[in-house]
């Protein structure tokens, strides 16, 4: 059930109508049932996975807490045991469903020259939707209990709702138990401003997904399916993909946050205008924030972070980004993308002192120009990463980058048309909302109401009459 489908519209209206007439306890039970229905709508067989994951982490959380409360010399060992149980379960599920064939494939190839037929190792495994997201979410729960950051809940159904909460179940944002569980356990009140904000976010997310991402997708597919695109076509295709993937994923996050807000929940911001980042570090503070902070808190810091000298810091950065890339999918292009971003972060750290030395005096204009220049450079570095991300093979990466470097083919300005048609309205609308601050945001019901009404009408027209037909979200595959 995609957020941009008729089925979801009906589903959400029913859930919302029921939600606000029920008491808190029944609200949670109904949401749990709705979340399982939502997940089972794709493939009911995978409900057993999410249930298994819930049960194991629920028990592990309680056992760790008991070990903490009972204390004694065995505390650390018992806590570690239950953490390992939880991690083995989470990483085992993820490893099997997502990476099994990725690792057995090369193994099979490697054994073939020795006459060993390892093709039997290959299994036709269907990747359960959203497994990477809810696995990371449950991992953060047990790790936080292990670290003593939070206490587990004894209410099983509420914990099950935390794991399966449908707005963010299949593509994030990856919520921390410390942020979402208290909201589930506590009573929610209907607040008009929050509800309106939620509706706005859903509308805006749909606009990003249906109008911008899905329309750009057609152009991007054309370029990436072309056997020998010109340099300018590659540039336009990659720019378009940058906006497509941003709007696809940010659109999903906005709808997820909007749905949650309509029910009185607050989910974390997942995207914060990532393409205005002036350096790799800033980019990762703005892009897929819930994943990047998860990787920082549970991987990078666990590896030692930047506390053990420069070399180890760089190693930790590289390893974190390598695993971050692998998290996106079991394919070498994602690994390459992760490694590339790791390299960018390391290079930025290396040159940071040099960049800080650049003295522009007191000129605001010069500072602004310098900032814009860095944004443009960073945007293109990110775009280079998107080539690795989107390409289907290494050959395609060589071909596309080779064509750009050789300036192959003529400049066809008509290729800019899809960008002007679909990406420009997005850039304008986002810039307007940022320029006027919260008061200027379409979602707020304060000043400029009549102007906002006109803005909504324009966006609604583009969304309804020029939106591409329903298609899956890119991040569902992760």
């Amino acid at each position: 059930m995609w957020f941009n489908s008729f089925d979801f519209a009906v589903f959400f209206c029913i859930v919302l109508a029921l939600y606000w007439v029920l008491s808190h306890r029944w609200q949670n039970l109904m949401l749990l049932a709705a979340s399982y229905f939502f997940y089972g709508y794709w493939d009911w067989r995978f409900l057993s996975l999410i249930f298994f994951s819930t049960v194991v982490d629920y028990i592990a959380g309680l056992r760790m807490q008991r070990a903490i409360e009972e204390g004694g010399p065995q505390e650390a060992r018992r806590k570690r045991f239950w953490l390992v149980v939880s991690m083995v379960k989470s990483l085992g599920l993820l490893g099997f469903f997502k990476y099994y064939n990725f690792f057995t494939g090369p193994l099979s190839d490697a054994l073939a020259p020795f006459g060993i037929d390892a093709s039997l190792l290959h299994l036709d495994i269907v990747l359960p939707v959203g497994i990477s997201f809810y696995t990371f979410q449950t991992m953060s729960y047990t790790i936080d209990i292990y670290r003593g950051v939070m206490k587990p809940t004894r209410r099983f159904f509420d914990f099950a709702l935390f794991v399966s909460f449908f707005p963010q179940l299949v593509a994030g944002p990856i919520e921390r138990a410390s942020a979402l569980l208290p909201q589930i356990l506590g009573k929610r009140r209907f607040r008009r401003a929050q509800f309106c904000d939620g509706l706005h976010l859903m509308f805006w997310g749909l606009f990003e997904k249906v109008f911008v991402a899905d329309n750009l997708a057609r152009f991007v597919n054309q370029v990436f399916d072309s056997p020998d695109p010109s340099a300018f076509a590659v540039l336009c295709g990659v720019w378009a993909f940058a906006f497509q993937i941003y709007c696809d994923f940010a659109g999903y996050s906005h709808i997820a946050r909007g749905c949650a807000k309509c029910m009185g929940f607050e989910l974390r911001l997942n995207f914060n205008m990532p393409y205005i980042a002036a350096n790799p570090r800033e980019f990762w503070a703005r892009w897929h924030i819930s994943l990047s902070t998860w990787l920082r808190d549970y991987l990078y810091i666990s590896l030692g972070g930047n506390r053990k000298g420069k070399v180890k810091t760089y190693r930790n950065l590289a390893l974190t980004m390598f695993l971050g890339g692998l998290w996106h999918g079991a394919a070498w292009n994602f690994v390459l993308w992760g490694v590339y971003h790791g390299a960018l972060l390391i290079i930025h750290r290396l040159f940071e002192p040099v960049l800080k030395c650049i003295n522009l005096g007191r000129s605001r204009v010069l500072a602004a120009v310098w900032r814009v220049a860095r944004i443009i450079i960073m945007f293109h570095l990110v775009c280079l990463g998107w080539v690795f991300f989107r390409a289907r093979s290494m050959d395609q990466i060589y071909l596309m980058l080779g064509n750009v470097l050789k300036l192959r083919g003529a400049v066809d300005l008509s290729l800019l048309q899809p960008l002007a048609l679909y990406a420009l309205p997005l850039v304008l609308a986002e810039t307007m909302q940022r320029l006027f601050g919260r008061d200027g945001a379409l979602g707020t019901w304060g000043s400029f109401v009549w102007l906002k009404c006109i803005g909504y009408a324009l966006l609604a027209y583009l969304l309804v009459y020029y939106g591409a037909s329903a298609s899956s979200f890119i991040y569902f595959q992760f």
Binding site: C453, A457, L458, Y461, V464, Y465
Partner: protein, 361 residues
């Protein structure tokens, strides 16, 4: 004070809704202007494509609506000169919506595909004029040919019949409605309505759309059955209507021959397999949808009428020496070849007709 406050909020809400809808309508008009070159103000719908004047009902000269364009002489296709270019064989194609090319992609209606195929076979030798109009009946064509179409000096006239038009409540009459005076002014339309309908059809799942359509069709048919006495419905092709078709077709052939043009007839194809057991659910729904336009006819009657009129076409062809292209046989009974052809169906029809035209001397 409190009531006043509520009233203010309600008034503001209504004002915002009105502003929102007005803005959407303005967007729709700007969109139509930019995309189709439509006028910002004034009527804009299918109705723009046809008119009734002294020539009777016909395509409006120079009209356009979305991707349907009529040239300055009332033909669907590119501009032409009234005078036939030297050495060119003019092929005039007449018929209703199937011939007009209502549902095919632009340039894929069967007359347009015929032009392409003829150009490939004999470059520059043939010129196909598509004089079809949606809902046009045979008697109206007789009048239209008599007062207008003959002026284009066609060498060959191809007629693709629409037998179902003889199953309407009122039989097509020889007397044609004409109008004098200035053309009827069409009212302003709300552009948003049609656009919204199209979007809803795309957005609502096919299963729900099918269910809704079935309900609507059943409701319309039930209404007809309640309103009229038993026996009003036709179970078989009514002999008097088949006879009327034969009479009108004979008259058209005479009219065309009187102008010196050669006539080519075609049988009518549909998507329904002869064996009812082989019908799909979509076939059943399409049939019910067809019946909405001809409430007196049962499904069996519609197919019987197709069969009978095709028999008449073949018989007349033999008797009057008119070549007949058996489109009903050429186009297999497949979903993609419903009365309104798909691009593929239109291609098959065009191929069959082109072969016949190339054989004419």
């Amino acid at each position: 004070m409190k009531i006043r406050g509520i009233m203010r909020v309600v008034a503001r809400g209504i004002g915002l809704i009105i502003l929102f809808v007005v803005m959407l309508e303005l967007c729709a008009r700007i969109d139509d202007s930019l995309t189709w070159g439509a006028p910002f103000w004034g009527h804009y719908s299918y109705a723009l494509l046809s008119t009734t004047d002294v020539l009777g009902p016909h395509s409006r000269f120079g009209a356009s609506f979305e991707n349907w364009c009529i040239n300055s002489y009332g033909f669907r296709g590119p501009e032409i000169t009234m005078e036939k270019p030297a050495g060119v064989v003019r092929v005039l194609v007449i018929g209703a919506s199937e011939t007009f090319g209502l549902y095919e992609s632009p340039g894929k209606g069967f007359p347009a595909q015929m032009q392409h195929m003829l150009d490939v076979a004999r470059p520059g030798r043939y010129q196909v004029l598509n004089a079809a109009l949606v809902g046009m009946t045979l008697p109206r064509f007789i009048h239209y040919f008599h007062v207008w179409l003959w002026r284009f000096d066609p060498d060959i006239v191809v007629y693709y019949p629409t037998p179902a038009s003889y199953l309407h409540r009122e039989a097509p009459e020889r007397k044609t409605v004409t109008r004098t005076g200035p053309p009827k002014k069409l009212p302003e339309t709300i552009r948003l309505v049609r656009k919204t309908k199209t979007v809803l059809q795309r957005f609502i799942p096919a299963s729900i759309m099918k269910w809704l359509r079935q309900r609507r069709i059943a409701w319309v048919l039930a209404g007809h059955e309640r309103r009229y006495k038993s026996g009003w419905m036709w179970q078989h092709a009514p002999a008097e209507r088949v006879g009327l078709f034969k009479e009108h077709l004979t008259a058209l052939i005479k009219e065309v021959r009187a102008s010196g043009a050669r006539f080519v007839l075609a049988t009518h194809a549909n998507r329904f397999p002869a064996d009812r057991k082989a019908w799909s659910e979509t076939d059943e729904m399409m049939m019910a949808g067809w019946r909405r336009f001809v409430p007196r006819a049962t499904g069996k009657c519609l197919l019987d009428m197709e069969h009978e009129t095709n028999r008449v076409v073949v018989e007349l062809g033999e008797r009057l020496g008119v070549p007949v292209v058996d489109v009903a046989t050429a186009v297999p009974s497949k979903p993609e070849n419903f009365a309104h052809f798909t691009d593929r169906g239109a291609e098959i029809v065009a191929k069959a007709l082109t072969t016949e035209i190339l054989m004419l001397r």
